[in-house]
């Protein structure tokens, strides 16, 4: 006797699942957008000539990249309030954790991107009389940023997948809602299968969109060719 599938409980709860999906997308988008400026700031701090700034920031970024995101999230939500008088909501903690995660990665990509723009570009800019800062702003940064866009977009896809950790601290994202519904309807198979498919569709679509942007950039000669 095979398993008797019954999708009706899931379909009835579809509105809750879609609300959860909305929360997932919102959290991811905010973390991505906040992660960019924070990451760039971190990168610039790391590139600074003052060891006093560059070294601690470097250590912190290394630490963030060498610890799992879920550990960072639990630390922010459960441990930090014992250290400082802050009150973090599940959304706040999840946003902070994902932003910091994104920023650490962005900072490395940014650093690498700036470093990768050839020396000749710097020398050329200097030769036509630009100061270091002008060179950075008008010649180096635009080229570096164009190369980094594909990597940043891949980062967005990764962030979408990582957003699921927010469900462990009661942030009502798609996975959290799925667990609620699975436990209430006693139909874990249907609920989690539908949930997995929802994530799959959204993430595959985002992934495809980023690939198209990359191809467009590649055609215009600036991006990394695949």
């Amino acid at each position: 006797m095979g398993y008797s599938w019954d999708f009706t409980p899931v379909l009835r709860a579809m509105d809750l699942l879609l609300l959860g999906l909305g929360n997932t997308l919102m959290l991811t988008a905010l973390a991505f957008l906040l992660g960019l400026p924070v990451g760039i700031a971190l990168a610039l701090a790391r590139l600074s000539r003052h060891r006093v700034i560059a070294w601690p920031v470097g250590l912190m970024v290394d630490f963030l990249r060498c610890t799992p995101a879920l550990v960072q999230l639990f630390w922010l939500f459960f441990a930090l309030p014992r250290l400082l008088p802050v009150r973090l909501s599940p959304f706040g903690a999840a946003l902070m954790a994902l932003t910091v995660l994104s920023a650490a990665f962005v900072s490395e990509v940014f650093r690498g991107g700036i470093v990768s723009v050839e020396r000749t570009q710097w020398e050329g800019a200097r030769a036509i009389g630009m100061t270091s800062r002008q060179a950075m702003r008008r010649v180096i940064l635009p080229q570096a940023v164009k190369r980094m866009i594909p990597v940043f977009l891949e980062r967005l896809v990764e962030l979408l997948k990582m957003s699921t950790i927010a469900s462990t601290i009661s942030y009502p994202d798609l996975l959290f809602r799925a667990q609620d519904i699975a436990q209430a309807t006693y139909r874990p198979l249907e609920v989690f299968t539908v949930t997995a498919l929802l994530y799959l569709v959204v993430i595959a679509a985002t992934s495809e969109a980023t690939r198209r942007v990359e191809r467009h950039l590649a055609r215009s000669g600036e991006g990394t060719v695949h």
Binding site: R65, C66, W75, T164, F192, T193, A196, Y199, L200
Partner: protein, 215 residues
């Protein structure tokens, strides 16, 4: 401080459980990646299409969702005993396998056509060309990407904590719950992860540099 010392053996057990899960997943993911990567490169659609499907499915589904699916949903479908380790192992292996498959495919594709032609000229079958000429060269190029993916895999083992696999993060959670000391508990866990993972990232860099020099 004294309490912390009594917890260290438990954390060590958790770290060992983390390592076991990661290593076991690597052992399954590598062969999967190799087979699927080669299948995707093959010119026969009957091989390439399922390979593509596999990669899209397991790369684009979040790992935590996969872990939860294997632990809660899968056992209602097949009469298999699914403990936390097995569920996490399957989820992580299938996910990493998909990434490895892409690395393998890219590695194979990066070998110039000339190598294939030369091997064919020597009278080798497709299989021999692949195994004796292409793969050895491709593997060298894949090592940095594989090493990075290993580090990712190691970090992803923490996602087995929500299904109560007693790895490092779950251990920290248990201790924090039983002794009401989340600050010490999670800080120790974070530090322990860093101590384990940082050397791995340095190794990965070193490998990358060495292989680039030898190209």
């Amino acid at each position: 401080m004294q309490q912390v010392l009594t917890f260290l053996p438990v954390f060590a057990e958790g770290a060992w459980a983390t390592f076991q899960l990661a290593a076991a997943s690597l052992c399954l993911a590598l062969p999967i990646g190799l087979l699927v990567g080669m299948a995707r490169h093959a010119h026969r659609p009957v091989l390439a299409w399922p390979g593509r499907l596999y990669v899209e499915l397991f790369r684009n589904t979040p790992v935590l969702v996969l872990i939860i699916w294997f632990f809660f949903a899968f056992p209602t479908l097949v009469p298999l005993e699914m403990d936390a380790f097995t569920a996490a192992w399957l989820a992580l292996s299938l996910n990493s396998g998909a990434f490895f498959a892409e690395i393998v495919r890219a590695g194979i594709q990066s070998i110039p056509r000339g190598q294939w032609d030369a091997a064919k000229a020597l009278g080798m079958t497709y299989r021999r060309q692949m195994v004796r000429v292409i793969l050895p060269q491709a593997l060298k190029r894949m090592v940095p990407a594989l090493a990075n993916r290993w580090v990712e895999l190691f970090k992803l083992t923490a996602l087995a904590a929500p299904i109560a696999y007693p790895e490092l993060l779950h251990t920290a959670r248990l201790i924090a719950s039983a002794y009401y000391n989340p600050l010490q508990s999670f800080s120790i866990a974070a530090l322990a992860y860093f101590i384990m993972i940082y050397p791995m990232t340095q190794c990965a860099f070193w490998l990358e540099r060495r292989l680039r020099r030898s190209e």
